[in-house]
Symmetry: C2
Subunit: 144 residues, 2 copies
DNA sequence: CGAGTTGCGTTACGTTGTAACGGGTGCCAT
DNA sequence: ATGGCACCCGTTACAACGTAACGCAACTCG
């Protein structure tokens, strides 16, 4: 085998050249309708030859660094970024429904500005943010 | 032994009657100068008779519910709440220094308002928030 | 060519969190 | 008072999440 490092572009609008493993993981995330844990991704890729968690975690680390995937800290799970790559990635916010599990990504300039202002006030050099809102989505609230 | 359920008030300003285990866990957190993992707490309490993680997790669940402790999702760790109990607890924010590990709790009305407005806009019924800002604290930024 | 960087696969292990069972205690409504 | 209920507790065992360390292959850039 000659070259494994440049692979299929996965019909994803981001032009970055993903490796084979990164493309496989990204494909699973794109096909899912909600957040997936690393181990769920691993199980989905066993038939593609994945055998160990590190294969998933290494790919996820890169995809997160590329801004193509977000990690949801309060769920230990991952979702594809649904916004125009890069821009809002540093300060994305999420709503997480505690009833149905639905996750929605929110980009809000005012929120970003406030977080940056708070950091600046305390001399803090901000690298990345985690903002996760837990509660009930509209549908579940109505149903209750 | 007759009554284990009401215990020492731990010189903490909150008046809630903690159980023995809750008071022990709270004591360890108050004495620490940074976030502690559940297993670190467990080890600190082995000489007090703790033997299993559940003893720690059950106490932590209550302390978090009481608003006396925050969970830092991105660290899998816990810190005592340093603010006037209750009020700002639902929407506390934290800065986390990725160099020295220092954690600072921030209460900011404008941030809270923005998060609530965002929730309202999308029909989301907000129960609790996780806001964690990662980067470098002032000291570490200067040192770099 | 040689050194550095990145990706890959594997084994083994460390850390974090929970399920399920049984028991004790206080409360309070019947 | 006694039976139910809610809460707290301790234990065993296990599930879920994440990483260290090793060796190897390939590409890049001097």
């Amino acid at each position: 085998m000659t070259d494994e490092t440049h692979a299929h572009d996965q019909t994803h609008r981001h032009e970055r050249p993903l490796t084979k493993n990164q493309a496989l993981v990204m494909g699973v995330l794109d096909a899912a309708d909600g957040p997936l844990s690393a181990y769920t991704i691993l199980d989905a890729l066993r038939e593609s030859g994945f055998r160990a968690p590190l294969q998933v975690y290494r790919a996820l680390d890169k995809l997160v660094a590329f801004g193509m995937v977000h990690r949801l800290e309060s769920l230990n799970a991952f979702v594809p970024c649904r916004h125009d790559d890069g821009a809002a990635h540093k300060s994305a916010a999420f709503t997480i429904c505690e009833s149905c599990g639905k996750v929605t990504e929110i980009a809000d300039a005012a929120l970003t500005a406030r977080l940056e202002a708070l950091s600046a006030e305390s001399g803090f050099s901000l690298r990345r943010t985690t903002v996760e809102l837990r509660g009930l989505c509209e549908d579940c609230r109505k149903a209750a």
